[in-house]
């Protein structure tokens, strides 16, 4: 294994050298970096041209100029932006931070939703739900991302902001949303028509009722959850987690999960004052504290399979913290929305923060980041969701038709165990090897999404640099993305071997 990795690393370095050479020559020919100076009418024009030529070695042929760049790059010097005189390394660092902020959440959400929908679609193969999802996935797959982004800006942001001016959902809209929800849920659950009609109907009515209540109480202007809703949400999560994890018949796990929910609700009022003094690291610390608390409770309830109870209760603990956190941050919403810089139109279409709000505290800052991120993240999720759904569906179908699944069913395993333990885990293997590559590609920035939403991450850095023919910046960008992509490939190969024992490496 070690030999395999070493060998791959050495080839990767060779590939990287060749790719950077190719890219350098291409980038150097992408335009004229002296264009702005040639057109200028400054008296010292010739001197400036001379100076920049010296700085960028423009008098040297690009095929040779590469080695000037390589020589400096090996020593950790990626050069400077010729326009702003900024170090390329600092520019890359800043852009990288912005991109990670944007991409991390979007890709996690896309993977989780995609895997979930893919599995349901595979389990209900050739049903109406399956056909519907397949069609929607193909449609999303074929959408040009810039088109979606502009539409989101227009309808998502401006539409929602207009809605907030008078946040009442008309009854017709309520009926349509409820009906749509009912159809989706009803087609997703399996079984007889009667059962599906009933579940779908309940889901639709509940959705419409909740939205109607929210609309009637002006919830959208001053949102919040409160202990009762947190309890209900916690209960729902506990039931889902225990059902999927081990089955509701398991008494210790069930009781542990319920206890964690109760502890979470009991912590509601103490946590309010605790949150007031929270910042980023402390929030993360208390999240870990909640998970540990849950795991401990699960451990105490014990039973024949302590570790499963501990794990499930830990997950519930994490969710409870998330609800408490969400509730608290919602209490800041009205303050945020009513500041003069926002003026009741919270969803932003451009940029990554409101400059007037810098230094107004952790919570306001977090909300501000959120309102700026929500549109680009939605666009990214919409675009990458389809691929994961299709992939997961195919992978799950393949696994569920294998002999050992039939064996598991034949020996009387409950369907939940067959799907979750035998099917799901093995169907994840191909996805797991896909993820490193996708993540590596995402660090290159979502070029189009960032451009449309004015998010100054890696993608926008690249577009800007290409427009100015800023070879140093382009090369810095390419170096980072290229290295990440190659590392991603190696990780994917290694993961495949680790996860699937049938595959052997030949070194």
């Amino acid at each position: 294994m070690l030999r395999f990795i070493t060998r791959r690393m050495i080839t990767a370095v060779g590939v990287l050298l060749a790719a950077t050479y190719l890219f350098f020559v291409l980038a150097a020919n992408a335009g004229d970096p002296l264009e702005d100076l040639r057109a200028s009418s400054q008296p010292n024009r010739d001197y400036l041209i001379e100076q920049r030529t010296q700085l960028l070695h423009l008098d040297v042929n690009p095929f040779v100029r590469y080695f000037y760049w390589l020589g400096a790059a090996v020593q950790g010097d990626l050069g400077k932006d010729y326009k702003t005189n900024q170090e390329v390394t600092t520019m890359l660092g800043d852009a990288m931070g912005q991109t990670i902020k944007l991409v991390a959440f979007a890709s996690v959400a896309a993977i989780v939703i995609g895997v979930l929908v893919g599995i349901i679609s595979a389990l209900r193969q050739y049903s109406g739900f399956d056909y519907g999802i397949t069609l929607v996935a193909f449609l999303m797959y074929s959408l040009p991302s810039f088109w979606v982004a502009v539409l989101l800006k227009q309808w998502g942001a401006i539409g929602f902001n207009n809605f907030l001016a008078d946040p009442h959902i008309p009854p017709v809209a309520l009926a349509i949303i409820g009906g749509a929800m009912g159809v989706v849920v009803g087609s997703a659950v399996g079984g007889e028509w009667k059962r599906r009609l009933m579940i779908g109907g309940i889901a639709g009515v509940v959705t419409a009722a909740v939205l109607g209540f929210m609309s009637a109480t002006d919830w959208f202007l001053d949102p919040g959850l409160g202990p009762v809703v947190i309890f209900a949400l916690g209960l729902a999560i506990a039931i889902i987690v225990v059902f999927l994890g081990i089955g509701l018949n398991n008494k210790p796990a069930r009781n542990a999960a319920l206890t964690v929910v109760l502890i979470g609700v009991a912590a509601y009022f103490p946590m309010q004052s605790a949150f007031e003094y929270t910042s980023g690291p402390a929030a993360l610390g208390s999240l870990i504290g909640f998970i540990a608390m849950g795991a401990f409770v699960g451990w105490l309830f014990g039973g024949p399979d302590r570790r499963v109870s501990a794990r499930l209760a830990g997950i519930v603990g994490g969710f409870m913290y998330a609800f408490l956190w969400l509730d608290y941050i919602m209490s800041w919403w009205q303050t945020y929305s009513n500041t003069s810089a926002i003026g009741g139109r919270p969803i932003a279409t451009v940029g990554s923060s409101t400059p007037e709000l810098t230094g107004s505290g952790f919570w306001i800052g977090t909300i501000d980041t959120f309102t700026h991120m929500v549109l680009p993240i939605t666009a990214l999720i919409l675009i990458s969701l389809a691929g994961y759904t299709r992939y997961m569906r195919g992978s799950m179908l393949e696994v569920m038709n294998l002999d050992y699944i039939r064996t598991a069913r034949a020996k009387g395993m409950p369907e939940r165990t067959v799907v979750m333990r035998h099917g799901f885990r093995n169907a994840l293997i191909p996805i797991a090897t896909l993820i490193p590559l996708d993540l590596a590609a995402l660090f290159g920035g979502a070029v189009i999404t960032e451009t449309v939403f004015g998010w100054s991450g890696m993608g926008r850095l690249f577009v800007g640099a290409l427009n100015e023919v800023n070879v140093n910046v382009l090369m810095g960008y390419f170096l980072v993305t290229g290295i990440l992509l190659l590392i991603g490939t190696i990780i994917a190969d290694v993961l495949y071997v680790v996860l699937d024992p049938r595959i052997r490496v030949e070194s």
Partner: protein, 338 residues
């Protein structure tokens, strides 16, 4: 009677293929049964016909009254689309897709954009497929050193994110001519296909029919292109189709960023780029090019999916439970009758 029923059942499960149909007929039969793919193929054909004939190609005139460069000085109703539906009967009016701010007909401009996008897409697809097949075939057939060199080359190209390298290329070539742009992009999109073709050749070259051809005196080139290639045609066709769908979106994205087709040339992405600022005042300028991009990408993707199913030898379309039940009942009835 019972015999016929068994046959019908076999037909439903797709087992009649054993009767000695040619591969082409089997694939065609399966493709026709794939409803989404069939509908897509029809929609795509009609769309392409409209796109090509409406404003004509090159010197050949089309049937549409405006050309993309014509300026209608009377901007009616702020240039709103005149396309209307009375029930399902459409009435087109003078400018069905509307007019832009200086009075040009959006329908004609969208058609011109679609023509250019189609040209780029087809060129990209054909060239990427040809290069990918040749490189993959040689790497897989000869193995050893040549394989090593070619595969390192594909890795070099894969190491550069597609949109990045195509943007740089587009900046260099995009402004000159759409055809050149398509050709150059095609030279960069082949690595994925080359890898798949290589894998096919690696396994097919060990089969008996290759030995038989060699004994009969066939040379390397004849074995590669006459004997092995037809056997891997499924992989090639499916991936060439999906490549074209990718190419459509890629061209549009690059032109949108300003690194692809540039004015005075028009393409669907370039039109969206040109008109995106007027979304709030003239949204129709933005709608129609996007609509055509989606039509192309979606239909081609669905056709590719249908082809994949059609070429997949493991494909056995399982009849719906309803059909199975119906057949079981029919069978029981005939048995009782007998």
């Amino acid at each position: 009677m019972a015999n016929m029923n068994a046959e019908a059942q076999a037909a439903a499960v797709g087992e009649v293929e054993t009767k000695g149909l040619s591969l082409g007929k089997i694939v065609w039969g399966r493709f026709v049964r794939h409803k989404a793919a069939m509908i897509s193929a029809i929609v795509l054909t009609i769309t392409i016909l409209v796109v090509l004939t409406s404003i004509g190609v090159g010197p050949i005139p089309g049937w549409w009254m405006w050309s993309p460069t014509d300026i209608d000085p009377t901007i009616q109703n702020n240039g709103r689309p005149t396309l209307q539906f009375n029930g399902i009967v459409p009435s087109f009016g003078e400018h069905p897709f509307g007019q832009d701010q200086i009075g040009r007909d959006v329908f004609a401009r969208t058609m011109r954009g679609a023509q250019v996008s189609l040209l780029v897409m087809v060129l990209m697809g054909i060239i990427a497929t040809a290069v990918g097949v040749v490189i993959g075939a040689f790497a897989g057939f000869y193995r050893g050193k040549l394989d090593n060199v070619l595969m390192r080359l594909t890795e070099v190209i894969i190491a550069i994110p597609t949109i990045v390298v195509t943007a740089v290329i587009g900046k260099v070539f995009g402004s000159s001519s759409p055809a050149l742009f398509g050709i150059v992009l095609g030279l960069l999109l082949w690595p994925g296909l080359a890898r798949l073709v290589r894998a096919e050749y690696l396994s097919l070259r060990e089969r008996e029919f290759v030995d038989a051809a060699r004994v009969a005196g066939a040379g390397d080139r004849s074995i590669i292109f006459r004997h092995i290639l037809p056997n891997s045609i499924g992989v090639v066709i499916v991936n060439a189709t999906l490549l074209m769908a990718t190419a459509t979106i890629l061209e549009a994205a690059l032109s949108f960023l300003g690194f692809g087709i540039q004015a005075p040339n028009v393409s669907l992405g370039q039109l969206i780029n040109e008109y995106q600022t007027s979304f709030s005042t003239r949204p129709w300028l933005f709608w129609w090019p996007g609509f055509f991009i989606i039509v192309f990408a979606l239909t081609i993707n669905l056709i590719g999916d249908g082809l994949r199913d059609a070429f997949d030898p493991r494909q056995r379309r399982i009849p719906k439970t309803k059909e199975m039940k119906k057949q079981a009942i029919a069978k029981a009835e005939t048995e009782v009758a007998e």
